[in-house]
Symmetry: C2
Subunit: 146 residues, 2 copies
């Protein structure tokens, strides 16, 4: 689309319109907002793991990683840190000695209830630049990219 093919084909490529770049920016925005609402210093990733654990109940570490869409190396660190905060506990499985079963502590169960409220506020604030209709549409499109 340039006058001559030799110079500045670069003008056709605009970084500010590339999904990858924009997704990174949107993630940055969300992370910043999440931090201001942070409950107990939780990160978005730790939040996800806690919610999934509440949904599914006690399960193996690997299984929790799959529920939360996290790598096995990632979920290990997340579980370690949640255990450090006293929100989660682990125990060896009797049936399968490879497994370490993860479950919420009472403190973790209490916290999850607070998280639901915080989560809604965080979502609202993140989507604030969009109209209600745009918000619904954006979520719908995002889900197609999961």
């Amino acid at each position: 689309m340039t006058d001559d093919g030799t110079l500045k084909p670069s003008t056709a490529y605009v970084l500010d319109e590339q999904v990858g770049y924009l997704l990174r920016l949107a993630n940055q925005r969300h992370a910043t907002i999440f931090q201001t609402h942070a409950v107990d210093g939780l990160t978005p990733t730790q939040f996800t793991a806690l919610v999934r654990l509440a949904e599914h109940g006690k399960c193996s570490q690997n299984q929790l990683g799959r529920y939360a869409a996290m790598d096995i190396a990632t979920i290990k660190g997340v579980v370690d840190r949640l255990r450090g905060k006293g929100l989660v506990q682990t125990e060896a499985s009797q049936q399968d000695r490879r497994r370490s079963l993860v479950s919420l502590t009472p403190a973790g169960q209490d916290l999850v209830q607070d998280l639901y409220h915080a989560g809604e506020a965080i979502t609202d604030e993140t989507l604030a630049p969009l109209s209600p209709a745009e918000q619904r549409n954006f979520i719908k499109l995002l889900r197609k990219l999961g």
Copy 2:
């Protein structure tokens, strides 16, 4: 929306509809696709830094970080690795002895041209689950969240 207010208010909160979670998944998807197209082992972040450097030309490390929307600690690591690949070079500024000026090497300039093509393919593949109209809409909405 539960039968009684005491049990399972959690059902009102669906993680799979929260922006933060979905953005994380979309980013995962994009990162995976990027990797399959990777030129010279570049990461999306390094890609962004190179393109911004090509757009703006020689500038200080901090300035490049602002152009690329990266933390000063992050851009340092990115510049270090790009220098390690021989795509970027740094020199001390004469006017301001605090600054280290970053610029593309000839190899870096050559690579940027390839990156534009790879970038388009990556964007196309990432957005493949959406129709053309949905793609345009999605980008439009994403830009509002920048």
